[in-house]
């Protein structure tokens, strides 16, 4: 009997800010072929764009350089490959920083870094609008011209094709900008198994494998509600690994002797995370059908996934546009027993009356009472928080006028001496006024976006 080829893709980061230990643990805890590191959330690109405006050599997820250092011997000596969308709005600078790190660590020439570009549409926005691409907001239908002068980032979500191209050109590290989270897993499977661009079921299987591991340990026992007390050793949690076969079936597992849990329940919770219409999970490569997934236990900390079907991809790509959208500030105070909630509610009335007297009207004002209604609102019931030992009063405002928001930030701390009693928790002083960078989702014709792959050593 010939052994079937198995390709192991290990999820090593689920967002920018994830556990710094995870990449090294995934590289060293057992056999893996690929490390997949997902860094980009919807708002991350705009943060990176702002950084690049201040410093042309910035604009990528700097954590990734440290992550690469922590797995360098695995990549340089043991043939592990790395796929990451750490490039943000400056994949070339990210690649340069990784290569510089490798040289400094005596691994010059060991890394072949494939850089994927072409997703950044910011320099092309006016040309695109002039060419009849309206870039209408997918949620509201409004044309982009409404906020054009406030746009600070615009990136097309790109799929598996350029990543496969980079691997074909011999890259052992692939750095992309705004590629989809799921493509980071599907692309190496497509490359290894030679899946055709219209093999919809297999591409969909790769996408769903990617969806399962794109949030790191959130499928291996992290943030799992099902029987959460029984999940052992979260301190030593194992991040997920997909063991895939050429027919598109795969097993989700984790390294031996790690904490957490891989079970039908932990994987199911991740499958439904951020789900829209389960029949049509749209990606640049394929439309995956989540109602086709078969999932079954396959031994301890192993879950087998099969039966996945997909439909042809659409002719559009999603575009993530970020634009400046006013200011906000959120502040809080803590009130103690007895009658903590009542005191906090009085503080809210007092503060709002003072804002009124100052003539300050905001686009939005939101008060929450943490310990009573902040997470579930009225669903928490009429008695929620009534006997709480303490309640945090949290108030936020949002407005286009920065001055108004800044004035608001001065009105909270005075309550400590001139408002209701038993108040503390003001050590942070005045809250900070933050500029809001909002998200504008749009679609664009695929033909408009041309990706480019360069392999650097």
């Amino acid at each position: 009997m010939t052994e079937k080829k198995v390709v192991r893709v290990a999820g090593a980061q689920g967002f920018w800010g994830d556990w710094l230990e995870a990449p090294r643990r995934q590289a060293e805890g057992g056999p893996v072929d690929y490390l997949m590191l997902d860094y980009l959330a919807e708002v991350t690109m705009s943060i990176l764009q702002k950084q690049k405006e201040r410093d042309p050599s910035a604009g990528y997820a700097k954590d990734f350089v440290g992550a690469m250092e922590s797995v360098l011997s695995g990549v340089a000596e043991r043939g592990i490959k790395v796929i990451a969308n750490a490039g943000g709005v400056n994949p070339e600078a990210c690649a340069a920083a990784v290569l510089e790190m490798a040289r400094a660590k005596g691994a010059a020439g060991k890394l072949r870094v494939g850089v994927v570009t072409g997703d950044n549409l910011l320099p092309r926005i006016d040309e695109l609008l002039a060419g009849g691409h309206e870039l209408k907001n997918m949620d509201t239908g409004e044309p982009l011209s409404l906020v054009r002068d406030r746009v600070i980032a615009a990136n097309a979500y790109i799929g598996s094709v350029p990543i496969v191209e980079a691997l074909t050109k011999g890259a052992n590290v692939v750095i992309t900008g705004r590629s989809t989270d799921t493509a980071l897993t599907m692309a190496p499977l497509r490359y290894e198994f030679g899946w055709a661009g219209d093999d919809w079921d297999k591409l969909a299987a790769g996408i769903i494998a990617g969806h399962i591991i794109e949030c790191g340990a959130q499928c291996s026992g992290g943030n799992c509600l099902y029987d959460w007390r029984s999940i052992e050793n979260l301190a030593d949690i194992g991040y997920p690994i997909v063991e895939a076969q050429a027919d598109g079936t795969f097993v989700v597992t984790k390294h031996p002797n790690t904490g957490g849990l891989v079970s039908v329940q932990t994987v199911s919770e991740q499958l439904v995370y951020e789900m829209g219409d389960p029949h049509s999970y749209i990606t640049p490569d394929v439309v995956a059908d989540f109602t086709s997934i078969h999932i079954a236990p396959d031994g301890k900390n192993r879950v087998r996934v099969h039966g996945i079907t997909g439909k042809p991809a659409t002719d559009k790509l999603k575009v993530s546009i970020a634009y400046r959208s006013g200011y906000k500030a959120v502040g809080s105070l803590v009130y103690a027993w007895p009658d903590a909630l009542e005191k906090a509610q009085l503080a809210d009335r007092v503060l709002r009356e003072r804002l009124d007297r100052l003539g300050l009207k905001f686009e939005q004002v939101l008060s929450e009472f943490v310990g009573a209604n902040a997470t579930h609102g009225p669903l928490a019931g009429p008695d929620a928080g009534k006997h709480a030992p303490e309640v945090q009063y949290r108030i936020g405002v949002r407005d286009a006028d920065k001055k108004k928001v800044e004035r608001f930030t001065r009105e909270i701390v005075p309550l400590v001496l001139n408002g209701p009693p038993s108040v503390t928790g003001f050590a942070g002083g005045r809250p900070k006024t933050e500029e809001i960078v909002a998200y504008w989702p749009a679609l664009i014709d695929k033909t408009v976006v041309q990706t480019k792959v360069t392999v650097l050593t």
Partner: protein
């Protein structure tokens, strides 16, 4: 019989813009049938009255013993615009699990559904 979703299902939620999604998964495969029958779109919309400003969409995933709900207008604008503690809808999951549904006694006892306790 009154049955609370917390006792028969688990859940995870996330966000997409100003919409929160809640995936609701039966604790036991045989409990998917009553969940899909009694946890209707209207029932969930009524549950979230005063909490969300938009409508509710409902999808079935019998293969995962799960339902998926989209709660529109749930996140005070969503993403970076939101002033809410739960700006990304992470804990709408357990808010849905507070829902109590009425299930005929015969059906509930055949399926050994646990009765809700301390619910008026």
């Amino acid at each position: 019989m009154k049955v609370r979703l917390l006792d028969i299902a688990h859940a995870r939620s996330g966000d997409k813009g100003d919409t929160a999604n809640v995936g609701l998964i039966a604790l036991k495969p045989e409990w998917y049938a009553p969940i899909s029958k009694y946890v209707t779109r209207d029932r969930v919309a009524a549950h979230f009255t005063g909490v969300i400003t938009g409508g509710v969409e409902r999808f079935e995933l019998p293969n995962l013993n799960a339902l998926n709900f989209l709660l529109h207008g749930a996140l005070d604008g969503g993403g970076t615009l939101s002033l809410k503690t739960d700006a990304q809808g992470k804990v709408f999951s357990t808010a849905l699990l507070r829902l109590v549904v009425d299930i005929p006694d015969a059906e509930a006892s055949t399926l050994k559904l646990p009765p809700a306790v301390d619910i008026p």
